[in-house]
């Protein structure tokens, strides 16, 4: 991998922005407190931006560094496991949707949102050893679609207006 100062700076900035958005979201009250896991996922605006502007590898890097830092600063090993499963599922689906060239930024984001929740539910089933938690996935499908849609719109605006380099 070529050492590229501009790229390094852009990635560093992206991580910082994503971290700030994590914190902003952490300050907001939960949307529906009865069901865990419903979040807007504000940092994903940044991840999506990098994903489309700078490439999939860069987006994976930013996402991985953010996950690690978030776990160190605000989370625990358990929350790291959930976030990791969500991020991995979400990334793989977004990669497939983007490579298919069939969907817009918003479509890719919706797929990512829903599979983020699916990844977390599967991790919860593994961690807690209870398959019945799968029930939550029905509700999370709707909220994941909604948050994916909103984040996708925000990211599309940002991709259009903010120049990467």
């Amino acid at each position: 991998m070529r050492t590229d100062t501009k790229r390094l700076t852009l990635l560093g900035l992206s991580v910082a922005l994503a971290m700030i958005l994590s914190y902003v979201e952490f300050l907001l009250p939960p949307i529906i407190s009865a069901v865990p896991g419903i979040k807007l996922g504000l940092p994903n605006v940044i991840i999506l931006y990098v994903f489309f502007k700078s490439g999939e590898v860069d987006a994976a890097l930013v996402s991985a560094v953010r996950l690690f830092l978030s776990a160190l600063l605000f989370g625990s090993f358990l929350t790291f496991l959930y976030s990791f499963a969500g991020a991995l599922f979400s990334f793989l689906v977004m990669l497939a949707l983007k490579k298919s060239k069939l969907f817009s930024t918003v479509g890719v984001s919706i797929g990512g949102g829903v599979f983020h929740n699916l990844g977390q539910i599967i991790m919860a089933i593994i961690v807690l050893g209870t398959r019945e938690i799968g029930y939550y996935m029905i509700i999370l499908t709707f909220t994941g679609t909604l948050s994916g849609f909103l984040i996708g719109i925000l990211a599309a605006i940002m991709i259009k207006r903010v120049k990467a380099r």
Binding site: A34, P36, I110, G129, T130, G134, Y135, I138, T141, F142
Partner: protein
């Protein structure tokens, strides 16, 4: 170009419809296969802690090794968590459950309350 963009938006909508219909089908399958359970099984970190029959009213306080507590109540064939000292209290705000397969989960304490039916056991794979 314009046509190309519209096609992508059409595909986006199709994607959403597919995702939503899968969720609705799953919801219907769960609803239609719902039947009232006979007992509430409480597990802590995957290990069975206690089993309460739904036929009689009871209150049980689950005490964790680290001192955490969740109080589970059975009343009129329904189960709910009346109090807990976990940080998020999601289990306490969860509605009462009574059908086979329904659960109340306390993620911070790794406590899961599951309704099971006669002889169904936990081998029923409701996910697949």
């Amino acid at each position: 170009m314009k046509n190309f963009v519209n096609k992508k938006i059409r595909n986006d909508i199709l994607l959403v419809l597919v995702i939503i219909s899968l969720a609705l089908i799953a919801f219907l399958v769960f609803k239609l296969s719902a039947r009232e359970g006979s007992e509430a099984v409480i597990t802590v970190d995957g290990n069975t802690y206690a089993t309460l029959p739904l036929s009689e009213n009871a209150t049980l306080t689950v005490t964790l090794e680290n001192g955490g507590e969740n109080t589970v109540t059975v009343k009129g064939g329904e189960v709910f968590v009346t109090s807990a000292d976990c940080p998020d209290k999601i289990c306490v705000s969860h509605r009462p459950i009574k059908n086979v397969g329904e659960t109340i989960v306390c993620l911070p304490h790794k406590v899961v309350v599951t309704i099971e039916g006669e002889g169904s056991g936990s081998d029923v794979d409701i996910i697949s």
